[in-house]
Symmetry: C2
Subunit: 305 residues, 2 copies
């Protein structure tokens, strides 16, 4: 069973990372599931599954029809010439194509509807045990042909180090706007890896977020640690049609291979954090990341439509 | 049906490539299948399949037991300190790990046995219609974690441009020494793409082979051409256990995504060429590639063990 800490003090660094010397991974100090089967849409066996594997995958959670407006919006946004130089718009490392647009839960009427879908919010509330807010949101274009790989990492490691999120009480949610094939760089997860915190080597460079959104070299596990986790849990490749939804625990090890095919892999990506787990000062970085990637101003609970 | 040219003149450039200006793809001028169902191990429906799609995939062609010695040899060779600086040994772009060792049909007793397997040779002879020799062979280590993607290309385009192989009458064969999973960068092919020759843009740089074995920027299709081929034929990902065998036609468009998993994807790779299709001078390069990658000395037909 998971060890629980009695008191809550958001300034104590329970998960030291970005270290000078290698330190072994250790068991997480926080629960995985905070709610109960009676408190939301997920059944007991689904909560058990999430507890054990660190993610839940729902192929075809939405129908393609239900997402038609959002898919149109995706294409419209990419055509707009005024997008590329905005804060919160990230381009591909080897081209000027848009890779991600952040803040869609706040700045885009159509996409924000998905962020407040009653069942999506219900699942997030159930997993995190009560009110949740959005730490960040984005639409990812992930164009094909030159789509780069994204190396293995735990999102929590970054949010803890660079945003000061104190505890593991957050969950990411992706909603596919294009099909995820086995060949266009789908999300890969290491089941069970969320039970271990992997301290990473190396100091956080200034402005690291700009690079880490394109390719990540800091905040990633050493190859032997990754091999141990994979040896234990294997690798699951999450493929499915438009409208598939993945909830993955903030500390599960995940990544994706490159995408040389012409098929983009676009999705809406949401990070739900518990209102009891708001960010303090970064635990392992000299400066805060910008507001568009690390929401510090608005922790009002998300309300479903 | 494929148009046939009456006379054989190996100095005529039927497939111009590495051009200054874009030229559209055009239908191949050579047959795909040169032999008959009665002349080898493949049945008529298998020959039809190859004619249509440009490849044949045999999961578990060999058993893991049958390849045990070769798998041991693979590991032994990697341990040897004297390998890395040899001609014909290529390392990974981002590390000093061995990526490929060339010439194994000639320089390695254990691996050369595979190159002369009676059924393998029988299929190559049947597809190419008579005697065949080995244009090159190699063992590919393809280590995981930092395994780079390999962009779409036709092998024939390179062999024609850089080695002076005049016609499409060659076939590649890979024999897996590790499992090919969907997540460790398996071979992807575009079925039917072998029916089209895609002239490529850009002059061949000096010493291009050294780079092109690590990542290829010259001799690759433009994105819109690739999209047309994929729109027509789709993408097939070839996954299977140790001992799986792929025969792919020299002009089929193929590539592979990166491999960030800890699972290597090792194989023996053989290129069979018809003895009636031997290389002349390069059609679109200033210098010949080295002997270890483009066999010009020994065109004696391969004999099965």
């Amino acid at each position: 069973m998971t060890r629980m800490l009695p008191a809550r003090d958001s300034t104590i660094d329970l998960y030291p990372t970005r270290l000078d010397e290698k330190r072994h991974m250790f068991e997480r100090l926080d629960p995985v599931v905070y709610g109960h089967a009676s408190s939301g849409p997920l059944a007991a066996h689904e909560l058990d599954d999430y507890e054990e594997n660190g993610y839940l995958f729902f192929p075809g959670f939405f129908t393609a029809d239900q997402l038609a407006d959002q898919v149109d919006e995706l294409h419209r946004l990419r055509q707009r010439d005024d997008m590329k130089d905005r804060d919160g718009v990230v381009t591909e490392p080897r081209s000027s194509e848009i890779r991600s647009i952040f803040g869609v839960h706040a700045n885009n009427a159509l996409l924000s509807r998905l962020c407040r879908d009653p069942k999506i919010i219900g699942i997030a509330r159930q997993l995190l045990g009560g009110d949740v807010y959005i730490h960040h949101s984005r639409v990812n274009y992930k164009p094909g042909i030159h789509g780069r790989e994204f190396y293995w990492h735990s999102d929590f490691e970054t949010w803890h180090a660079e945003d000061g999120i104190p505890r593991m009480r957050a969950v990411s949610c992706t909603i596919s706007l294009t099909p995820n094939h086995e060949f266009n760089g789908p999300l890969m997860v290491v089941p069970g890896s969320h039970r271990w915190f992997v301290p990473c080597l190396g100091e956080t460079p200034a402005g690291h977020y700009r690079e880490s959104l394109k390719h990540q070299f800091i905040g990633v596990p050493e190859p032997d640690t990754l091999s141990r986790l994979v040896h234990e849990g294997g690798i699951r490749t999450l493929t499915g049609p438009v409208g598939s939804v993945i909830f993955f625990e903030c500390n599960v090890m995940h990544g994706s291979n490159s995408n040389i095919t012409p098929y983009p892999r676009s999705n809406v990506f949401l990070v739900f954090n518990s209102v009891e787990n708001t960010p303090g000062e970064p635990f392992a970085a000299r400066e805060r990341r910008p507001e568009w990637i690390a929401n510090r101003r608005n922790h009002a609970p998300v309300r479903p439509i």
